[in-house]
């Protein structure tokens, strides 16, 4: 059922860390504080921690599913509902990852347009970005993983710059702790969907991991890293701004950069946003790779052609999303879609697999 991946295309287990972390850290981190504080106020960081903790269960389920069928999600679907229906369900995820890549890329272009160059053409930027992505994906899966590695390591220096904010931060803004109702904290956690999704790709590249057993701890470690990062930035934002100011800012993390003062650059955001291109790159590359791999698995189309088709669709559709309003709708939709997939569909699939296993054993 599952095609065998040759040994030379597989990646070592520790690289799962970079895949998961770089896929999670993307566009959501630039402004997630706002939507969470809307519900949980000064306790928003608890929401972030809670969401991060719950995701560990989902990752555990993902590994269970993958181990049970010894393959990716397409195999899992076939295992549960058979070949035809399974492939139909699987093909939905082509759209899922397409929309994911679209959201990330369009939101990033919006940031460029608002913060740096209003004249940047969405179409041409996407065109250039797609050419780069195609080039990377043509290099094979291991190159994609390499980009994920660099996309996480190189821009990590950016987090040092938040030291400037600590000077102006007043951590008493976090008081009183636990003043928000449990319901609001959970609502806040729900708002984290868009920021946290991305780790579910494990379910799609599982067959490519050498000794997948060993990669488990790396996946959990990646999740822990991003959770701590989000929590830290959340606490910092609450301490640095006041609540109404967070509510007004669309890109809270970017606004925090406005205080950075370096002798050689007046506006640090320009460096930050330009570096963010590297953070975005693995997000888009990996999701396009997953989408095109799904095309290959389901429709037996050549991987290379699948990539081109997706890039073309991207170019056409991205031009239609031109206002803040539409981008916001897209972001919210992707958040909901991610929530639905990770928190509803994966547990459901897990249960189905367990039932199917029991039935088949008999």
């Amino acid at each position: 059922m599952q095609e065998q991946i040759p040994e030379e295309f597989k990646i070592s287990p520790s690289l799962v860390f970079y895949m998961v972390a770089s896929m999670q850290i993307g566009i959501g981190i630039l402004g997630y504080q706002r939507s969470v504080t809307k519900y949980a106020y000064q306790d928003a960081w608890i929401s972030v921690l809670l969401a991060g903790a719950l995701l560990h269960i989902i990752v555990w389920m993902i590994y269970k599913i993958a181990e049970e069928v010894n393959g990716d999600i397409v195999t899992a679907h076939e295992y549960v509902v058979g070949k035809l229906v399974g492939k139909t369900i699987s093909s939905l995820f082509i759209v899922y990852f397409f929309i994911y890549a679209l959201t990330v890329l369009r939101s990033y272009i919006e940031v460029i347009q608002v913060w740096m160059f209003p004249e940047v053409s969405t179409f041409w930027f996407t065109f250039a970005f797609m050419v780069l992505c195609i080039y990377i994906i043509y290099g094979g899966f291991r190159v994609v993983v390499g980009i994920a590695f660099f996309g996480l390591v190189i821009p990590s220096y950016l987090f040092l710059t938040f030291g400037y904010n600590i000077k102006y931060a007043d951590f008493s803004h976090l008081l009183p702790i636990f003043d928000t109702s449990i319901k609001n904290i959970i609502l806040g956690s729900y708002q984290m969907s868009l920021t946290f999704i991305g780790f579910e790709i494990i379910l799609f590249f599982y067959p490519f991991i050498k000794e997948p057993q060993k990669s488990k701890k790396w996946a959990h470690f990646a999740l822990l890293t991003s959770t701590l990062l989000y929590t830290g930035l959340m606490i910092l934002a609450i301490a640095y701004f006041s609540e109404l100011k967070i509510e007004k800012s669309i890109w809270v993390t970017l606004t925090m950069w406005k205080i950075v003062q370096l002798p050689f650059v007046e506006r640090f955001e320009y460096i930050g946003i330009a570096s963010w291109n590297l953070v975005i790159l693995p997000n888009v590359c990996v999701s396009i790779w997953v989408a095109s791999r799904l095309i290959k698995r389901i429709f037996h189309l050549k991987h290379r052609n699948g990539v081109i088709i997706i890039a073309l669709f991207m170019l056409i559709i991205i031009s239609f999303i031109d206002t803040r309003e539409k981008i916001n709708v897209l972001n919210n939709f992707t958040g909901k879609m991610g929530f639905g997939f990770t928190f509803i569909y994966i547990p459901l699939l897990y249960i189905c697999i367990m039932i199917a296993k029991k039935v088949k054993e008999k």
Binding site: W124, D179, E266
Partner: protein
Amino acid sequence: MKKIPFMVLFLLIMTGCVQEKIIDEIDIETAAAFDQLKKDEFIGTILVQDYLPDKTIINKVFTTEGSLRRDLLLNIQKQTSGDLVTGGLLITIFGDKLADKGIVDFVDTYQRDASIGSRNFLATSHGSALEILKGDYGPQGVSNYLYTLIEHNINQKDVPVTNLHIFLRDFYIKGKDPYLPELRRLNKTQVEISGLSLFRGDREAYVLPKEKMFFFKLLADRHSGEGSFDVNIGKGRKSAVRSIRSKHKYRLSKEDRSQVNIQIKIRGEIREYTGIKLTQAIVDQIAKKLEKEIEVECMKLVKHFQKLDIDPIGFGYLHRKSIRGYDFEKNWKKDYQNLTFKINADVKILETGVIE
């Protein structure tokens, strides 16, 4: 490898995608001033500094009138030779009449504009703001001069820390009012910090005289730097005490929630003494005297703020974070008027200079 020429070509095409801005051909707005002209009409001034090859700086001032801030900017664009950009803004001054009417509309454009940093200063002026920009304060240029004037007074002297970010933070926090330094033009070549404008919301409500700023900084600034203060212990013996660091702590009294306990700690040194001999007894006397003075003066300040119903220290916010589920909107107005204060100062003089 056929791809490489294609890629190079591509990179070349991409460079043409955004409008270029050459630093010699743009005008960088470094300071701005706004005054009220008539009802709903403003006069705005923008200062552009031109750096000449021989390292001198020319201050170019553009003035225009309009009823919206956007109008002002558009009109000024018509006067400048280069494209006017806002990324280098250092200071903005609001005239006193304008500050009385509210400045939030002006500040709003500042937070909306992605290219304006959070570190630039806002200030009010005693009299016309325009006149301050029209002065000539030496070779470093007007805007740099005004910026460093405020900056060093924050770092070393008794102006409490302020910038665009802090103004907005205080403005958007429930239970705290912002403050801004006030500038006054003395003559064509001199300008001074004449006090501190305290706001109610975004409207100037009171100007704190500069003599009181030392005490205000003790109350308002978290990390108070060096402020200096004269202590007179009688018999013609005067001394100047410089605070090296100070800390304050606000607590709502455990027994009585309507009492605020304010603890002020100062570590300082004596810079100047006009008596004959400076003994330990006299040092203690000076410290005691300063403690007393701080307690009395700070009490006067907070009582005065209470009477004016302004809250630059943030007692309202203190209530919100100390009392769980405090209904700020409903109770604060009444609670503030019933608030009592207890101030306890602790001055320790560490050094008395290099001679005895």
